[in-house]
């Protein structure tokens, strides 16, 4: 059991003349892990996050960080000890990217030169070219701005990172990239991260633990994402988690034991000639290009999603279901063909892992 970094003790936030935004919340947040607050609008997830750095003051109850009551410290100093990333990156348009990243160290009195040197390092950490440091935020794309926002939050090397729907304003492809980048960073940095989102998919991808909030500021379930998908605590969680939860839960099942079959392949020139059955078209480097159709005299049909080493059963099943031939394409780390997957064998694996779970430990 991991050590608790942040604790909520009977915390309530009530705005004048309304029902509580957060109602008697007690929970402890693990050190060095990503904890995701997820729930519909008005469930108090953002309010709860903002009470940690006192952007919102609780009506009653106590919040401690590393054992210390947050209300005991001056608010501005407390906030500098935590990184904060928000939905609109919240960058200062009149400062260069480098100076934006250097903000908190500068507030802490670090000399300008040293703060900028550290900021330049951080641009590299979040995967931005150092040349971008001299630009103004308006000259960056949304995804780049969000990376700068993350770099800025990390600049003072705080043990705690608060992230308020940081990726919800970027397009799905960039969001996926940023999520993977955050997981990569977290493997190196092991910060205590509290992450707010309304997207259950994002919650299950990122969270070591997920806290599902219900409207009215109640904590409906607080558990590992796999458990929330497998065993929702009540109807609210079940309906919030959604219809595809069975499929999504496969993300947590390893597909390492899946069997790869040899594939029938042709090169691009032969694909045009017509085939008696589906055949995989490869380039000169044996990377898959698509499928040669057995109908209407061949022709290249775009392939489905690819299954890579280490991917979950969800990816494996999706590779098979999205493939025009019904066979999922597996590739190695370099993107070269490794074999094909059969949907019925993936289903058999799923059934087997279910049986394994049922057996008493």
């Amino acid at each position: 059991m991991a050590e608790a970094m942040i604790e909520f003790l009977s915390v309530t936030k009530q705005y004048q003349g309304g029902q509580p935004a957060v109602d008697n919340l007690s929970m402890s947040i693990d050190q060095g892990a990503i904890t995701v607050f997820v729930g519909p609008s008005g469930c108090g997830k953002t309010t709860s996050l903002r009470m940690i750095n006192r952007m919102v003051e609780p009506t009653s109850g106590t919040i401690t960080v590393a054992g210390r009551d947050v209300s005991a410290e001056p608010a501005a100093r407390l906030r500098r000890s935590m990184g904060y990333v928000m939905q609109s990156a919240g960058l200062m348009p009149h400062r260069t990217v480098l100076d934006n990243v250097a903000t908190v160290p500068r507030l802490n009195g670090v000399p300008k030169k040293e703060a900028r040197r550290r900021a330049a390092e951080l641009l590299d950490v979040v995967g931005l070219a150092s040349g971008l440091g001299r630009r103004y935020p308006s000259q960056l794309s949304g995804g780049q701005q969000q990376r700068v926002g993350v770099a800025r939050a990390l600049a003072a090397d705080p043990p705690v990172l608060l992230m308020d729907e940081p990726f919800s304003a970027v397009d799905p492809v960039v969001r996926d990239e940023l999520q993977q980048e955050l997981l990569r960073l977290q493997r190196e940095l092991a910060k205590t991260i509290v992450f707010v989102t309304h997207d259950i998919d994002e919650a299950t991808v990122l969270g070591d633990k997920v806290a599902v909030f219900a409207v009215g500021g109640r904590l409906a379930q607080y558990a590992a994402p796999e458990e929330i998908l497998r065993a929702p605590a009540n109807d609210f969680v079940a309906s919030f988690v959604g219809r595809d939860r069975g499929f999504r839960r496969l993300s947590f099942n390893s597909a390492d034991s899946i069997r790869l079959h040899p594939a029938k392949t042709v090169d691009a020139a032969a694909a045009a000639g017509g085939n008696s059955e589906w055949a995989l078209v490869l380039d000169d480097d044996s990377r898959p290009l698509g499928w040669a159709s057995p109908r209407d005299g061949g022709g290249l049909v775009p392939g489905g999603s690819l299954f890579r080493p280490g991917d979950s059963l969800r990816r494996a099943l999706d590779a098979a279901l999205s493939s025009p031939s019904g066979l999922g394409v597996a590739v190695d780390g370099d993107g070269r063909l490794a074999g094909v997957l059969k949907a019925e064998e993936i289903l058999a694996l799923i059934e087997e892992s279910r049986r394994l779970r049922e057996e008493p430990a």
Partner: protein
Amino acid sequence: MEWFLANSGTVFGLAGQHFVLAVVPMVLGLIISVPLAQLARGRRALRTAVTTASSLLYTIPSLALFIILPPVLGTRILDPVNVVVALTIYAVALLVRAALDAFDSVDEELRLAATAMGFTASARFLRIDIPLSLPVLFAGLRVVSVSNISLVSVAALLGVGNLGVLFTDGLQRTFVTEVVVGILGILVLALLMDALLVLLERALTPWTRAAAGPTAGSAARMAAMTETRIHEGAG
């Protein structure tokens, strides 16, 4: 032209006086307006009072103000202090609204982000609110500069030295050249002041030119310019 060359010393002297009488109230107005706007920003009642008062102030005819002020301030009627005080009042009336608009133009999300990063209230005001409100504030200053330069000439009726003296004198002597030199002088002075303000703004807001396309600042400037056209009739 001959008259101008013969009297260029006098004209330049009057222009200098004119310039000082226009600039000093503008600076004083700025020093008063920015804190006043900051104070009124978060307080709805004060904000309404300030904006209403500023509109009313601007409707007082300048000549009336030049005449009312000496007994109120205990100054002599010819004292340039009267002109400075009167124009400062007009400058505050214009700039307090410009400053409120300027502060409103600062993104609320950004202010939230600054708070979350650990800016104290004063640091946020100085390092976020002030620099980011410069584009809208400068739009206001440019209006005040033009307005002041035209209003200073009214003070010539009372005998306070400035380029307006060329009108009164030229009219009395029915000497058109002198009036024309006065008009051109005021025009050149107004253009010079405007150019100075534009250069100063460019130097202080390098980031506004980094973004491609029209920025929020230039849109706000357009709005401010349209609004002042309505005010100018009152002076």
